[in-house]
């Protein structure tokens, strides 16, 4: 005489055309990061002062910037900087977030409490301000920006992992594994860790988008990769002075950032739906 759990049909994976576009863009982005040469043969740093600020046309599809560099080539090569910053920062943040979160979730109460407070301290500073502070200390540059964004994002992941660890630690299957006579270490490695990682793909995909935005924000403030590196945020920062004469110089890097983040978020949400679909 108890509630009857209806079994849910297994989620089907639909391939809708709308789902394909973001994925296709991300693939293109991946190519731009790894082998930008496939997409353009133009040197993103080659300045041609005499052809500066020429509008989009046959010679330069996206026009040229204030130093006569090809905006398309710079946008493509910019992926390398912007996306790598995002990916590296997210990777570092995820790795340390998982480690810290897991440690907190499995620790005795006092240590857990201390770790949780330290996440608090990190989050008391707005992300951008913290990144600014770190960059101000370490100096501008790609590596430092990555580090800064990573540090700022660690608490996000650590908190989720910590909460997730609590849940998994008290779940039926961990208890069950105990009755099989498995050791704590084996259970942590075999059940807890893999299961707390569940939300990470989703969080990381969406976090990646936010890291790209944060990176471009820092670049915009002049704290990012140094000139002449093509980085979308830095390109935008330079281009803002030419808005009235050359909209294309700002438009394309802006579009690149926006599309990247939109596509990452869309894919992240789709992952999330699939993820949620499979854990009732």
């Amino acid at each position: 005489m108890s509630a009857v759990a209806g079994s849910r049909p297994a989620p089907k994976v639909f391939v809708r055309p709308g789902a394909l576009l973001p994925a296709a863009f991300l693939v293109l982005l991946g190519i731009a990061v790894v082998v930008p040469g496939l997409l353009t043969s133009v040197d993103p740093l080659a300045a041609d002062p005499l052809n500066a600020l020429s509008p989009p046309g046959a010679a330069h599809w996206f026009g040229t910037d204030h130093l006569g560099r090809d905006v398309l080539a710079r946008a493509i090569h910019g992926a390398g900087h912007s996306v790598v910053i995002g990916v590296a920062a997210t990777a570092i943040a995820v790795a340390s977030g998982v480690l810290l979160g897991l440690a907190a979730g499995l620790s005795p109460t006092w240590l857990d409490e201390a770790l949780a407070r330290s996440f608090d301290v990190l989050s008391t500073l707005p992300e951008l301000l913290l990144a600014l502070l770190i960059v101000a200390i370490t100096g501008p540059g790609t590596g430092n920006v990555i580090f800064a964004i990573a540090v700022a994002q660690v608490p996000n992941y650590a908190r989720v992992i910590r909460a997730q660890t609590f849940v998994v630690r008290h779940s039926g299957y961990v208890e069950q594994a105990l009755t099989f006579g498995r050791s704590r270490l084996a259970i942590t490695a075999g059940h807890v860790l893999p299961n707390v990682l569940g939300p990470i793909p989703v969080l990381a995909t969406i976090g990646l988008g936010q890291a790209v935005i944060a990176g471009s924000g820092l670049s915009f403030l002049g704290m990012g990769p140094q000139p002449p590196a093509a980085e979308w945020g830095a390109m935008l920062a330079e281009a803002r002075n030419y808005l009235r004469v050359a909209w294309w110089e700002a438009f394309f890097p802006g579009l690149a950032i926006t599309l990247t983040v939109v596509c990452l978020t869309v894919v992240g949400r789709r992952l999330q739906r699939r993820f949620e679909g499979r854990t009732p």
Binding site: D120, L125, P126, L129, L132, I137, G254, I257, T258, V261
Partner: protein, 301 residues
């Protein structure tokens, strides 16, 4: 409550100390900053060191720093030649105005969009969701630039800058508030839709409630819970975003001061800003806890 206060103070102390240590680790030294672009001779340096007390051991400087903090003395800015407290006092107002206006704009926009579109037709929801997605995906400074170009330079509806009057607040508040509206809109709509599917919502319908009454009386409060948990994030986004917005719109405020201080490594100002934002964060998260309790009786214990 006492425990929360204690934890809050501990967080503040940790924030102050962390930033102090972090700045000590920075390259170059304070004297360089004070010398600046000007002529640089050993005599000038010696005078500066003496004047700022930089010849004392670091630990002494740190203790002195904490001691002064306890007395509400935030020190003197290296760059701006003025008391930090005084600088911040003039800057808190504009930033508070900006962030509150942005928060209000974000919340209002998100609320309206969520209530109007929750559970409605595919197209309406699709459009709202796309708009939200774009608003969180466009870098905030780009939103600012576009708003400025369209509404100020071209249409001339709003002044470009400054902190005069409500009209000057519209564009910066929007620039800062739109990404928030996007996130909040998504969360609220998701919450509303989830609430509207719950058994208690079906029960309420079975009592003869209209959909609108259902949203107003039941669903909205449920949707608020996840939104409230995000508010800490909003605070960070607002304060961080204020840096870019203030610079872009030429508004006075903490963000601008912070940026200036950070690039100039103006230690006292940086630390004061860090401390201030920690205070804001701690205060807001405490308030949120209370709000949370007010909304959700289940956690009142």
């Amino acid at each position: 409550m006492i425990r929360r206060l204690g934890a809050g103070l501990a967080v503040l102390w940790a924030a102050a100390t962390t930033s102090y240590v972090a700045l000590l680790l920075a390259p170059g030294d304070t004297v360089d900053i004070l010398v600046g672009d000007g002529p640089d001779t050993p005599e000038i340096r010696a005078r500066i060191v003496a004047e700022w007390g930089l010849d004392r051991p670091e630990i002494v400087q740190y203790v002195a720093y904490l001691w002064r903090l306890l007395h509400g003395d935030l020190g003197r800015s290296y760059q701006l030649q003025r008391g930090v407290g005084e600088i911040l006092a003039t800057q808190v107002g504009p930033t508070a105005q900006l962030t509150l206006a942005a928060a209000a704009a974000g919340v209002a926009l998100a609320g309206i969009i969520a209530v109007v579109t929750a559970g409605r037709g595919r197209w309406l929801r699709g459009a709202a969701s796309a708009a939200e997605l774009v608003s969180v995906s466009v870098p905030p400074f780009l939103i600012g630039i576009v708003l400025l170009s369209v509404f100020s330079f071209t249409l001339g509806w709003f002044p470009v800058s400054g902190a005069q009057g409500p009209a000057a607040l519209v564009l910066p508040a929007l620039a800062l508030g739109l990404p928030i509206a996007g996130v909040l809109g998504q969360v609220l709509r998701g919450g509303l839709e989830r609430a509207l599917e719950q058994p208690f919502a079906v029960t309420a319908r079975a009592r003869g409630l209209t959909e609108r009454a259902l949203v107003a009386r039941h669903a909205l409060r449920h949707a608020l819970i996840p939104a409230v948990t995000l508010a800490g994030w909003f605070t960070g986004t607002l304060l961080g975003g204020a840096v870019i917005t203030e610079i872009l719109f030429g508004r006075p405020g903490l963000g601008q001061v912070a940026m200036q201080a950070v690039t100039g490594r103006d230690m006292p100002v940086v630390m004061a800003v860090v401390l201030l934002s920690a205070i804001v964060y701690v205060t807001i998260s405490t308030l949120l806890d209370l709000a949370y309790r007010a909304i959700d009786p289940r956690i009142r214990g």
